[in-house]
């Protein structure tokens, strides 16, 4: 409980008779890069949606920085300091990269109606500093060169980066990433890993990745939770997870993953 930033307590979620999540509990410490992995149908997406406030759990609690943020709505989760990315449709395709980031920080612009309606109270931004903040976010994600490009015209890898940039525009303390490596080639994936580590090291962000790309997870994450059929079957460092017999049997299988 010491410096746990995100606390997931016995979260369960039922869809009709199907249990997508069974009493999932784990916590993420500040400054950690944390991974949530599991085979298809394990409940990762459901867990992600519950934690980010998009979907209410059937039972259990989600606490962030000591505040109960169970059942969102998403704008409340963001106001608490927890932002998320999307796997698909992660940007506003019809406007420029800079405008995308600008829209991401609208709820922080002090004095604007958008801010008042969104109920954001911390990390507010005076209007004069908005342009500077957009530049800062673009620099953080290395997108300055494309600032005036239409988001819909960007190559896939850059669109995903932009999605991260938009989420960062809310200046969260923690970022939930929904399969950030999906669809990226080897080089883009490597760059993603570098950027994510830099975000943690230089900007103090805590990260939770829900991911399939084993190599990225093993290399990047300090601790990992493995989900199978809605239940947590293992939790620990990448080394521990790799050796865990239950995980190997249920998920990792043959040695080819052990050398990620």
């Amino acid at each position: 409980m010491s410096d746990a930033l995100l606390q997931v307590e016995k979260v369960s979620r039922w869809f009709g008779g199907l249990a997508a999540l069974r009493e999932l509990s784990f916590s993420v410490r500040e400054g950690e890069i944390f991974g949530l992995i599991g085979p298809n149908g394990a409940g990762k997406t459901t867990a992600f949606n519950v934690i980010s406030g998009t979907m209410p759990p059937s039972a259990g609690r989600v606490c962030f920085a000591g505040r109960d943020i169970t059942a969102g709505p998403p704008s409340r989760t963001v106001a608490a300091g927890l932002a998320r990315t999307f796997q698909s449709t992660s940007t506003y395709p019809s406007v420029s990269v800079a405008e995308n980031v600008y829209r991401g920080l609208l709820s922080r612009v002090s004095g604007s109606v958008a801010c008042r309606l969104g109920g954001r109270r911390d990390a507010l931004l005076p209007p004069q500093e908005v342009a500077g903040e957009v530049d800062a976010i673009l620099r953080m994600t290395e997108l300055q060169a494309w600032r005036n490009t239409c988001a819909g015209a960007l190559p896939y890898g850059l669109q995903k980066k932009l999605g991260i940039a938009v989420a960062l525009a809310a200046r969260p303390r923690m970022l939930l990433l929904d399969e950030p490596a999906a669809g990226l080639n080897h080089e883009e994936c490597r760059e993603l890993g570098v950027m994510l580590r830099r975000l943690r090291d230089e900007h103090g962000l805590t990260l939770l990745l829900v991911e399939h790309h084993m190599a990225l997870v093993m290399e990047l994450c300090q601790r990992i939770v493995v989900l199978v059929q809605g239940e947590k079957i293992a939790e620990g460092t990448p080394g521990e997870i790799r050796e865990d017999p239950a995980v190997i049997e249920a998920y990792l299988g043959a040695p080819k993953y052990a050398h990620a």
Binding site: S52, T54, P73, P74, S75, V78, A79, A83, R84, F86, T89, S90, T91, Y92, P93, S94, V95, S96, A98, E99, Y102, R103, G104, L105, L106, S107, R108, V109, S112, V113, A114, C115, L117, G118, G119, R120, P127, Q128, V130, A131, V134, N148, C150, V166, A167, A169, A170
Partner: protein, 320 residues
């Protein structure tokens, strides 16, 4: 100060300002230059611009209302009744109409804006019909099917807008104010937030914007604009009935918006200017003209989804 963001931002090209200024001069010159018929058309255009501006605001936030005329009816009837039953003046009457419409829109919108897409459209359609039925039924206060006739001309501080030209001045001023208001709105953070909600509501919500509250705000404001338009219109025509603002009129507003351009500040203006004169000009061949509307609607949706205003934008940017 907002960043110079989208390619759609005003580029400050002189020709745009010149064209705008010319249009303004033309609009102001109408009462002196035009025949009474032209002035009449201009009044209707101005009122339609005001009302469709409201519809555009709602559309810009991601919802399409097929019951917009019902709120014009609320503004019309409430303001007339405020004057006839409560003895209030024109100005106060319009205010009453706006407030009543705002309250109804807020209560209704809070509940129905949780729906999306076609479901929201169907609800607004049903509400429009319900309004018409209520007006038909409430003969003691609404005059029933016969409506209310002999509505006196608008007067403000003793000045009566009882000639066509004078009323045109009033209508033009209010319409221009609404255009200015909307133009300013979309330069500010709130305007960008509204666009964000329309384009990707899930993403907007996840960045801390409250989609629901923003949509309610847009809906209430849009309905108030319609109410003011309705309150003005009845003072011009002198008569109101449940058929003055029925579903066909709502559909007419939607057609103006779609043909003019749903996402552009100029859309309602373009749509109203093109579509308002036609019924009055082609009194003989009403059916041909409606066939033309229907065809134009389908063609615009198919080939020019940004409407006529989108066409204009392409021209300004030299077909970029």
């Amino acid at each position: 100060m907002t960043i110079s963001s989208t390619p759609l931002a005003t580029s400050g090209r002189p020709i745009r300002w010149l064209a705008g200024a010319l249009m303004l001069v033309a609009a102001l010159a109408v009462p002196w230059v035009g025949s009474p018929f032209i002035v009449h058309l201009a009044v209707l255009v101005a009122l339609n611009v005001l009302i469709v501006n409201g519809l555009m605001l709602i559309s810009r936030c991601g919802q399409l209302s097929l019951g917009h005329a019902a709120f014009a009816a609320i503004g019309a009837y409430a303001s007339v009744l405020a004057s006839s039953r409560l003895g209030l003046g024109f100005g106060a009457g319009v205010l009453v109409g706006a407030v009543v419409a705002g309250v109804v829109a807020c209560a209704l919108g809070w509940v129905i804006l949780r729906l999306r897409g076609v479901y929201f459209v169907l609800v607004t359609f049903a509400c429009g019909e319900l309004m018409r039925l209520a007006l038909l039924d409430g003969a003691d206060w609404s005059g029933g099917a016969n409506g209310i006739a002999g509505i006196p001309a608008a007067t403000l501080f003793g000045f009566a807008f009882d000639t066509r030209a004078r009323f045109y001045g009033l209508a033009l001023a209010v319409a221009l104010l609404s255009c200015l208001g909307i133009w300013t709105l979309f330069k500010r953070p709130l305007g960008h937030a509204i666009d964000a909600v329309r384009e990707n509501p899930a993403l907007a919500e996840s960045t801390g914007l409250s989609v629901h509250r923003l949509q309610v705000l847009a809906f209430v404001t849009g309905c108030i604009l319609a109410a003011v338009g309705g309150a003005l219109q009845v003072r011009y025509i002198g008569f109101v009935s449940p058929e003055s603002f029925n579903t066909a009129i709502s559909i007419g507003y939607v057609i103006m918006l779609v043909i003019g351009g749903r996402q552009s500040v100029w859309g309602p203006l373009a749509g109203a200017m093109v579509l308002t004169p036609l019924p009055e000009l082609f009194r003989g061949a009403v059916q041909t003209q409606h066939v033309f509307y229907g065809a134009a609607l389908i063609l615009i949706l198919r080939f020019l989804p940004d409407g006529l205003a989108g066409l204009g934008r392409l021209a300004w940017r030299g077909g970029r």
